[in-house]
């Protein structure tokens, strides 16, 4: 039996909790909204990456599975970009 990385899992959990607390603090401190949005999204992305790599085991599994995930991420970003950019508000009147 391979030794299970229980300490690693708990350590990752600690990071996730820490980042969450950091996010809440970012809101309570009044900062310009652009920094807040960028910071919050980056931190969320970081948490998601930790969960995906360590808890969903992608770090150790076949790379091919990660490609599926990355494709979904690409389409999610594409959707947000195109729908926001291609919305009524961004309509250009000639």
């Amino acid at each position: 039996m391979v030794k299970e990385p229980i300490n690693l899992y708990i350590g990752i959990w600690g990071m996730l909790v820490g980042i969450t607390i950091l996010e809440v603090l970012m809101v309570l401190v009044n900062m310009p909204i652009v920094f807040l949005i960028t910071g919050v999204l980056l931190l969320a992305g970081l948490k998601a990456a930790f969960v995906a790599l360590y808890y969903q085991h992608l770090k150790w599994d076949d790379v091919a599975i990660s490609w599926f995930y990355l494709m979904a991420l690409f389409f999610a970003l594409f959707i947000v970009m195109v729908w926001t950019g291609g919305s009524a508000v961004c309509q250009v009147e000639v």
């Binding site: 009524a88 309509q91 009147e93 000639v94």
Partner: protein, 203 residues
């Protein structure tokens, strides 16, 4: 259809037809060559005529066949044709989408509704079902909808835009021939969709 082509009522129809005909010409050419080539191969290499070997054997995975040079030619030819079409298309698109600069643009607001078209003239007059516009001027239509998604189409002028509630879309035409022209809704909008027509008189 032919009568429309012979009698172009103004812009952007004239430019639209030239783009359309370019696509049509290249389309016939490419389609004709490819289909022709295929039919030629089929006739020439029918079992009865062909001296070729049978290279498909049960239980044997077919070997690789083909030549990267020929594939590159396929790729290159397709890309060149499409690049030509795309370039001309971008030019015409910019022309069609941008209202030409002029001093005396005649602007009409169009409101599509279930099931007709309301026109509001520059002086505020509202008319349903018919719009009268001056010849040779740039006419701009600002199009929206009162209820559902419609499409405002000027059939003979080969232009149109979606009529979306809460938003305005702009199209322009420059009529050169006086006459009566057809406006119709080109997006399914309910039971009266087929009869959602109006006329445009150019004087």
């Amino acid at each position: 259809m032919m009568e429309y082509v012979l009698q172009i009522p103004g812009e952007p129809a004239g430019t639209w037809y030239s783009l359309f005909n370019l696509y049509l010409g290249l389309g016939f050419l490419v389609g004709g060559v490819v289909v022709g080539m295929m039919i030629y191969f089929i006739m020439k290499y029918r079992e009865a005529n062909s001296n070729e070997d049978d290279e498909i054997k049960p239980g044997v995975i077919p070997k690789d066949r083909g030549n990267i040079k020929i594939i590159t030619v396929f790729f290159g030819l397709t890309a060149i044709i499409l690049f030509t079409l795309a370039s001309y298309s971008i030019l015409v698109t910019n022309y069609v989408e941008k209202v030409p600069k002029a001093d005396d643009i005649f602007e009409v607001t169009v409101i599509g509704f279930q099931w007709g078209w309301k026109f509001i003239y520059p002086n505020g007059t509202e008319v349903v079902g018919e719009v009268v516009v001056p010849k040779d001027k740039i006419i701009v239509f600002r199009i929206t909808s009162d209820d559902v998604f419609h499409k405002f189409q000027l059939i003979e002028f080969r232009t149109g835009a979606d009529a979306i509630p809460g938003a305005f879309n702009v199209i322009w035409i420059q009529p050169t021939e006086p006459g009566t022209y057809t406006i119709q809704c080109y997006e399914l909008c309910g039971l009266g969709h087929s009869v959602m027509v109006a006329t445009m008189r150019v004087v």
